[in-house]
C-alpha cells in the first residue's frame, strides 16, 4: 500500500500535491493497461484456446510441455477486469478531487471528471491503441442511467414536486417543444443561406435539423443533478429545473422517434403529427402506469418480508429496474417509469421494511448513482477524444448561440403565462436561474450516437456540435452558476432540521385549509388532496402495509422516526465530550411540566441522598440493560440482523416508554442530577452517517440536544471515580468501534434516562457507576453548572 510518509521522497510534497501525483499516476496506469488489453484481439485468443482444447482432446500423442507454474491469461478476465478498473478509476478520481481543497470549490466535479476522461482518452490514443467504445448506447441507457434516475426518483420530495407539477410540466413539455422547433428550424434556415455555393451544409434537410434540435433541446438530469447538488439553492428552483429534466424525457423520446422515422422519407404529414401527439400521451402516461404497477407490486411484496429482512433492499432495486426495462421494451419513457415506481412504492415500503434495510437502500442508491455519474462524465471525455469529429464553425457556433437564446426566450415566455396561474410567482431572479440551469449532458450525446450513419451523413457534425454544447453548458454554465447564485443572492436551501412543530402545523394547515374550502363550498386542490389521503388511508394502506403500521397516522410516524434518529445519533456519538457551547440548552422536561406541589420532605434537605431502595431499583434496571447490550454485541452473524424495534410491535414500545417516563419522574423528584453530555457535531460516526445530499437527512444542529432529550446529569465532579468514568468511556469507545459492524440498533426506549451513558458505551464497569450514583449530591452549588469536561 502506498502510504505517503513511508516513501521518503514523497515527504517533500504537501498533501494536495501528493493527491495530484496519485491522480496522475492512476490516469497513466489506466491509459497503459487498457491498450495492453485491447492489443491482442479477443477473437484470436479464443481461437487459440479452442485449438488447444481440441488438441488436448484428441489424445495425449503430443509432446508434453513443462507444467506451467505461473501463466498469465488476461483474456479470461478481460472484460470484468476492465470494467472494474474503470469503476476504480472513477472512485479514486472522486476521492482525489476532494483531497485537493480549493479545487472542488471552484470547479464543479463534472468538469474535472470530463477533463480526466479527456486525459485518459488522450493517453490511450497516444499509446496508439483503439479507444474502447465506452459510450456504447446500450451500456449507457441500460446500466449507467438507471441508478441515477432511481436515486432521484426514490428520494424525490413529493410535496414540492406535486405542488409545482403544473409549472414543471409546462417547462418540460412546452419548453422542450419550443426549443426543438426553434433550434431545428433556425438551424435549417442558417444552413440554407450559406454563402459558399457547394457548402456541405446545404445538404442538410429540414427533418434532420429538427431531429438534431430535438436531441439537443432536452435538459439533462445527470448534468443538472451534478451541478445543482453543489450550489444548494432553494427547494423550489431545484425541483423546477430537476423536475423538468426528468419529465422532458417523454417529449424527447417521441420527437426523436418521430423525426428519425421520417427523416429518410423526407416529409411529415399532419396525420403523422397528430399521431405524434397521441404517441406522446401514450409514452408519458404509459411510462407512469408501468412504473406505478411495479411500484405497487414492490410495496405488496415488502409486506411479507418480515422474516427475511436481508433481501428487502433487493426487491426495491429489482422491481424498479424491471419497471425501467419494461418501459424501454415498449419504447415508453423509461425515466418516467422509474420515477413513478420509486415515488409510488416509497411510503409503503418504508413502513414495512426494517431500519437497516432502509439504510442499505439509501446507501446503495447513493453509491451506485455516484459511481454512475462519475463514469458518465469520464466516458464523455473519452468519447470526445475518440469520436469521429467534423468541425464546422458555422454549424457549431450557431447551435450554441441558438441553444442559449431559445432557452432564455422559452423560459421568459412560459413564466409570463405560468405566473398567471401560480400563487407563489416566479421572480426574474428565479427565471434567470431556471434558464441558466438548463444544462445538456450525456443523454443528448448518446441519442446522437444512436443515429444510423447510413441514414445520416452529417452524423459526425451533429456529434461534434452536441459535444461542444455539452462542454459549453457543463464548463461555462456549470462553473459560473455558483458565483452567480452568490452574486444574485438567490435564496439558498434551508439547512434546518425538520422540527416537530413544523410537522404538526403542516398537518394542521392542511386540515384547516381543507375545512375553509369546504365552508366556501369550493372544491379546490386541498379538497381533492384530502380525499386522496383518506382513500389512501382507508384502502391502500391496509393492503400494502403489514400489521399495525397500516393504521399509524403520519404525525406519529414522523415523531417515532425522529426519536429513533436522535437515539441512534446519541449512541453513535458515544456521549464523550461536552460540546463547545454554541447554544447548549439546559431546558429539560421538568421545565415545561406544570409544577406540582413539592412532596412533603423534611426541612433539612441540604444534601439530598439517594435512598437505598431507589438506588437498588436503578441498579437493577441498569444491570439488566447492560446485560442485554453485551449479549447483542456477541451474537453477530452475517445472516441475522439485530432485533428491530418495530418488529416488536408498537405496543411493546409504548409500554417501555411508559416505564421510562415513570422512572424519570422518580428521578426528577430526587433532585439529583446525572448529565448526559450531548453529541459533538463533528463526531466521525455522525458525519459518516449523514449524507449531504439526502433530502430526508436530519442535519444535526449544534443544539441537537433539545427534544426529546431527557437531561440527566452525572454526579458530583469532585468524585474522582466519576472523572475516570468519562475517560473510560472515551477509551472504551475505540475498541467498541471495531466490534460495531454496522448500525447497532437499540430500541429508543432504552436509550432514554439514566441508562444512556451506559448504553452508549457498553460500559464494562458497572461498579464505578454505582459508586457515582450513590455519591451525595453536589455540596458546592457552583460546581453544578460547570461543564463537566472542559
Amino acid at each position: 500500500k502506498l502510504h505517503p510518509t513511508s516513501l521518503n521522497f514523497l515527504g517533500l510534497f504537501s498533501l494536495p500535491e501528493r493527491a495530484l501525483l496519485l491522480v496522475l499516476v492512476l490516469v497513466f496506469l489506466q491509459g497503459s493497461v487498457l491498450p495492453l488489453g485491447a492489443a491482442s484481439s479477443p477473437d484470436v485468443s479464443h481461437q487459440d484456446k479452442t485449438d488447444n482444447h481440441k488438441v488436448e482432446a484428441q489424445g495425449h500423442n503430443y509432446t508434453k510441455k513443462a507444467f506451467p507454474v505461473l501463466s498469465i491469461d488476461y483474456h479470461y478476465i478481460q472484460t470484468p477486469f476492465e470494467i472494474s478498473l474503470w469503476v476504480l478509476l472513477a472512485s479514486l478520481m472522486k476521492l482525489g478531487f476532494h483531497l485537493i481543497p480549493r479545487l472542488s470549490s471552484i470547479v464543479p466535479e463534472s468538469c474535472l471528471l470530463i477533463v480526466v476522461g479527456l486525459l485518459v482518452g488522450g493517453l490511450i490514443k497516444l499509446a496508439g491503441e483503439q479507444v474502447p467504445p465506452v459510450m456504447n448506447t446500450r451500456l449507457f441507457f441500460l446500466c449507467l442511467l438507471p441508478p441515477i434516475i432511481l436515486d432521484a426518483g426514490y428520494f424525490l420530495p413529493i410535496r414540492p414536486f406535486m405542488e409545482n407539477l403544473g409549472t414543471i410540466l409546462m417547462f418540460a413539455v412546452v419548453g422542450t417543444l419550443w426549443n426543438a422547433f426553434f433550434i431545428g428550424g433556425l438551424l435549417y434556415a442558417v444552413c440554407q443561406i450559406q454563402p459558399d455555393n457547394p457548402s456541405s451544409l446545404h445538404q442538410i434537410e429540414l427533418l434532420p435539423c429538427l431531429l438534431f434540435g430535438s436531441i439537443i433541446s432536452a435538459v439533462d438530469p445527470v448534468a443538472v443533478l451534478a451541478v445543482f447538488e453543489e450550489i444548494h439553492i432553494n427547494e423550489l428552483l431545484h425541483i423546477l429545473v430537476f423536475g423538468e429534466s426528468l419529465l422532458n424525457d417523454a417529449v424527447t423520446v417521441v420527437l426523436y422517434h418521430l423525426f428519425e422515422e421520417y427523416s429518410g422519407i423526407g416529409t411529415v404529414s399532419v396525420l403523422d403529427g397528430f399521431l405524434g401527439v397521441i404517441s406522446f400521451l401514450v409514452v408519458a402516461l404509459g411510462g407512469v402506469l408501468v412504473g406505478a404497477i411495479y411500484g405497487i407490486l414492490a410495496a405488496f411484496t415488502s409486506r411479507f418480508t418480515s422474516h427475511t429482512r436481508v433481501i428487502e433492499p433487493l426487491f426495491v432495486f429489482v422491481y424498479s429496474y424491471m419497471a425501467y426495462l419494461s418501459a424501454e421494451m415498449f419504447h415508453l419513457s423509461g425515466i418516467m417509469a422509474l420515477i413513478a415506481c420509486g415515488a409510488v412504492m416509497r411510503p409503503y415500503v418504508e413502513a414495512n421494511i426494517s431500519h437497516k434495510s432502509h439504510t442499505t437502500i439509501k446507501y446503495f442508491l447513493k453509491m451506485w448513482s455516484s459511481v454512475s455519474e462519475t463514469l458518465i462524465f469520464i466516458f464523455l471525455g473519452v468519447a470526445t477524444v475518440d469520436g469521429p469529429h467534423n468541425w464546422n464553425w458555422t454549424f457549431v457556433t450557431v447551435t450554441v448561440i441558438l441553444c442559449l437564446v431559445a432557452r432564455v426566450i422559452g423560459v421568459v415566455g412560459l413564466t409570463y403565462v405560468i405566473n398567471k396561474f401560480r400563487i407563489v410567482k416566479l421572480t426574474t431572479k428565479d427565471q434567470f436561474i431556471v434558464a441558466y440551469g438548463g444544462l445538456r449532458g450525456a443523454i443528448a450525446f448518446s441519442l446522437g450516437f444512436l443515429l444510423d450513419p447510413a441514414h445520416f451523413a452529417m452524423r459526425e457534425m451533429f456529434l461534434t456540435a452536441i459535444i461542444t454544447v455539452i462542454f459549453f453548458t457543463v464548463f461555462v454554465q456549470g462553473m459560473t452558476i455558483k458565483p452567480l447564485v452568490e452574486l444574485l443572492a438567490v435564496k439558498k436551501k434551508q439547512e434546518a432540521k425538520r422540527s416537530i412543530n413544523e410537522e404538526i402545523h403542516t398537518q394542521f394547515l392542511d386540515h384547516l385549509l381543507t375545512g375553509i374550502e369546504d365552508i366556501c363550498g369550493h372544491y379546490g386542490h386541498h379538497h381533492w388532496k384530502d380525499k386522496l389521503n383518506r382513500f389512501n388511508k382507508k384502502y391502500v394502506k391496509k393492503c400494502l402495509i403489514a400489521g399495525e403500521r397500516s393504521k399509524e397516522p403520519q404525525l406519529i410516524a414522523f415523531y417515532h422516526k425522529m426519536e429513533m434518529k436522535q437515539a441512534i445519533e446519541l449512541v453513535e456519538s458515544g456521549g464523550g465530550v461536552k460540546l463547545p457551547a454554541a447554544m447548549p440548552s439546559t431546558v429539560s422536561m421538568q421545565n415545561i411540566q406544570p409544577k406540582k406541589p413539592p412532596p412533603a420532605l423534611p426541612p433539612e434537605r441540604a444534601l439530598p441522598q439517594l435512598s437505598k431502595g431507589r438506588e437498588e431499583e436503578i441498579r437493577k434496571i441498569l444491570r439488566s440493560n447492560l446485560q442485554r447490550t453485551r449479549q447483542r454485541l456477541r451474537s453477530y452473524n452475517r445472516h441475522t440482523l439485530v432485533a428491530d424495534p418495530y418488529e416488536d410491535g408498537l405496543n411493546d414500545f409504548l409500554i417501555k416508554k411508559q416505564k421510562i417516563i415513570e422512572l424519570e419522574k422518580k428521578i426528577t423528584e430526587m433532585n439529583n442530577y446525572l448529565t448526559v453530555p450531548s453529541a459533538p457535531p463533528d463526531s466521525p460516526t455522525i458525519t459518516r452517517a449523514r449524507l449531504a445530499s439526502d433530502p430526508q437527512a436530519y442535519s444535526v444542529k449544534p443544539t441537537s440536544d433539545s427534544v426529546p432529550t431527557i437531561q440527566v446529569d452525572l454526579a458530583s465532579p469532585q468524585s474522582p471515580d466519576s472523572v475516570n468514568l468519562m475517560d473510560e468511556f472515551r477509551n472504551a469507545r475505540q475498541p467498541e468501534q471495531d466490534e460495531d459492524r454496522g448500525l447497532m440498533m437499540k430500541p429508543p426506549s432504552e436509550a432514554k434516562g439514566p441508562k444512556r451513558p451506559e448504553d452508549a458505551e457498553g460500559a464494562k464497569d458497572q461498579q464505578r457507576l454505582m459508586r457515582c450514583l450513590s455519591d451525595p449530591g453536589p455540596s458546592a452549588d457552583e460546581d453544578e453548572d460547570e461543564p463537566f469536561l472542559p
Binding site: I423, I504, L512, C520, K551, K657, P708
Partner: protein
C-alpha cells in the same frame, strides 16, 4: 344588475383592507353565505356544523370556533360572537388571501404575522395570550383524533416534545427549577418562521389574478 348596488357597502369594507379584489369574488362568497345561513342575515355555529364535508375534518370545532372568535376581527376585542354577519365572515376569510407579485417585503411580513396570529388564536382557546402545555396537548389530540386510536399517550408525548422544542429554541438557558409558562406569540412566530406562512396559508380562489372559481354547493 341590482345585485351590485346591494353589495356596494360590503365592497367598500373589503376594499379598504385589500384593494385588489373583484366584485365577482365577493358576490360568490355572499351567495355561499346566504346558502349557509338559509337566506338569513347571520350564520350561527349550527349552520356551519351542518356542512357535510366538514364531518371528516379532525379540527372542525376549532375551525368553526375561529369564525366566531372576536380576536380575528382585527378590532382588539376578546370573546366570541353568537352569530356573525357577512362582514365578519369576510373578515375571517380575508386571512386566507395570497400575496401577489407586487406585494412588498414589509407587506409580506405583515401578512405573515396576521396569518400566524390567526393560527395562534386557534390554539389559544382561553385567550390569555399564551399557549399552555394543556392547550397544545389538546391541539395534537384533536389532530390525531380522526386517525384512529394509537392513543392519547402518543399525543401527549408529541405535544410534550413539541413544547420542549419551542422552549429550548427560544429560551435556551433555563435553570432547572424555572418554569416555561407557555408559548407566547413571539416564540410561536420564531418556531414557525421556516414555513413561509404567507404563501402556504391561502385559498386559491381568493387570488385576484387567477380565474375565479365558483363556490359550489
Amino acid at each position: 344588475m341590482g345585485v351590485s348596488v346591494a353589495y356596494s357597502h360590503v365592497v367598500g369594507v373589503w376594499r379598504s383592507f385589500f384593494p385588489t379584489v373583484s366584485l365577482e369574488q365577493i358576490i360568490n362568497l355572499h351567495k355561499r353565505f346566504k346558502q349557509l345561513s338559509g337566506n338569513e342575515d347571520t350564520i350561527s355555529r349550527e349552520n356551519l356544523d351542518s356542512i357535510p364535508a366538514l364531518a371528516t375534518n379532525p379540527i372542525r370545532k376549532q375551525i368553526i370556533e375561529a369564525f366566531f372568535d372576536k380576536r380575528n376581527q382585527r378590532q382588539d376585542e376578546v370573546g366570541s360572537f353568537h352569530e356573525i354577519g357577512f362582514e365578519q365572515f369576510l373578515m375571517v376569510m380575508s386571512h386566507f388571501r395570497p400575496p401577489t407579485l407586487k406585494t412588498t417585503e414589509e407587506e409580506r411580513e405583515v401578512m405573515r404575522r396576521e396569518k400566524l396570529r390567526f393560527l395562534f388564536n386557534m390554539h389559544d382557546t382561553d385567550s390569555d395570550g399564551t399557549i399552555t402545555l394543556d392547550e397544545y396537548r389538546k391541539v395534537v389530540e384533536e389532530l390525531l383524533s380522526k386517525s384512529g386510536a394509537i392513543g392519547l399517550e402518543a399525543a401527549k408525548a408529541i405535544a410534550d416534545a413539541a413544547m420542549l422544542e419551542v422552549a429550548s429554541t427560544n429560551v435556551p438557558h433555563m435553570e432547572p427549577d424555572e418554569f416555561y409558562e407557555g408559548i407566547t406569540f413571539e416564540h410561536f412566530e420564531q418556531i414557525l418562521k421556516g414555513l413561509e406562512m404567507e404563501s402556504r396559508m391561502h385559498i386559491r380562489f381568493l387570488d385576484v389574478n387567477t380565474t375565479t372559481m365558483h363556490c359550489g354547493k
